[in-house]
Amino acid sequence: MKTEIELGSAGAVVLDLIATINENRAYLSEIDGAIGDGDHGINMSKGFSQCRDALLAQPTLPGLAESFDALAMTLLDGIGGSMGPLYGSVFMGFAETLAGHQRLDAQLFGQALAQAVADVQSVGNAQVGDKTLMDTLIPARDAYLAALSQGEDFHTALGGMVAAAEAGWQSTKALQARIGRAARLGERSIGVLDAGATSCFLLLRTLGSSLQSRLV
């Protein structure tokens, strides 16, 4: 049974995340255009691309903890507005939890995920139901931790995380925004997906499958 990931050689997980954002650049902006200002894809792709350049400029790709840290720092350095601090917090949470470890197991990933969610929430103060990326992130964390406590293995727990992320993402459609730019629209924000929840689902899905493929 595969239970662990070699952190030192898993930096490419971050490259996968970057690729996901860049592939969905237009899609994310389009979703943001409906009830936001239409720049979510641009904002995200700006920061993620900067990180890609930075990582590829290294002689060898850093490990996963270092790559998460690089992503967090480029986001905090490269994009202002809200996305820098929010996603910066997410990936800094991962980076800090993984730092110093050789291997990532189900337990440690649970800690990292919990840390990431706690950090982003302390910065953004959004709750489930506010129609933000937290509607993806919080159920994903809860599902993952629940799976662990039910004795599921790493692979299965990741699958549970992604499924919950998707459900949470879809739940934003029916929600009225209470935070962020779309909150201004009141009831008019109901009926479409939230942009941040979308990018968050795409990232978690890629994270899940990319980690699963590296299990040894």
């Binding site: 905090l76 350095d77 994009i79 507005g81 601090p85």
Partner: protein, 336 residues
Amino acid sequence: MNRVINDPDQVVEDMLKGLLRAHPELEATIGNPRVIKHRDAPQAGKVGIVTGGGSGHEPAFLGYVGANLVDAVAVGEIFSSPTAKSFFDAIKAADGGAGVACLYGNYAGDNMNVKMALKMAERAGIRVMTVVANDDVASAPKGDEARRRGVAGEILMWKTAAACAAQGGTLEQVIDVAQRTIAQTRSIGIGLSSCTIPAVGKANFHIEDGSMEVGIGHHGEPGISVSAITPAATMARTMVEAIVGDLPFGRGDRVAVLISGLGATPLMEQYILYGSVAELLADAGIEVVVPLVGNFFTSLEMMGVTLSVLKLDDELESAMRYPCVAIGLTVSKEPL
């Protein structure tokens, strides 16, 4: 929309290039071109004054970096918060060992980026305290002040806090002055036309000809009401009433008044408004001892005005009169 720009995506970079050429007393920090500091910052032993915010509000924010004013500023894209790293780099640039007061406006992005910057500063061992301006009475009802946005009242907070720092105030004293200033300041805006972010290329929002938006935000955030445009004297009454009742201000108060054009409203009209504002305040027994009228805090080429009123005490009044030199505000040393 006819503009004096090159690449619409590079307007901030191009502006900074020109700004730095024109003002040898200002410089970008090493390693972060989005932080502008005063040549003399940090000053050993002086509390550093930092602010930051989106571009498009010039002379805010960078125009208030100056002698006895702001030490370093984080510069964002147009109408978008600077990065956490930029706030942190500004904090570093302003730190002379006595701590840094980071005085900024209450916007989601700024709040989050400052929060992250504080984490970085903590790691770097720099003591930072913050005051977040929430002077815009129109942005949330009374009782819900924490949700209000910061607008032109921020300038008054920078002015008084910086004067305190320049005179040797401790971080706690500087923060207290900033806190008191913003707590005693109320602002409101009236928007008369929209503005266009060059990279976006179409109007940010819309105001009908013949209409005005009372309570508009600095980025076109919706106000309290959209109504038929009124004479300046009536606008003044609307604004003064919203402000005076909120704190409240009353008979015998001495105040600073700051009227700022939002960009395209001529100075002539700002003075017309000031005339009515001053008259209304006088009628209410409120004395304007520090009047400021001009384009202090703009929103690109929006038409409209904001009014800010600060209730002074002796310390704040002398802080407002303390000499300073910056692009946006110069108080000359007397006598010349």
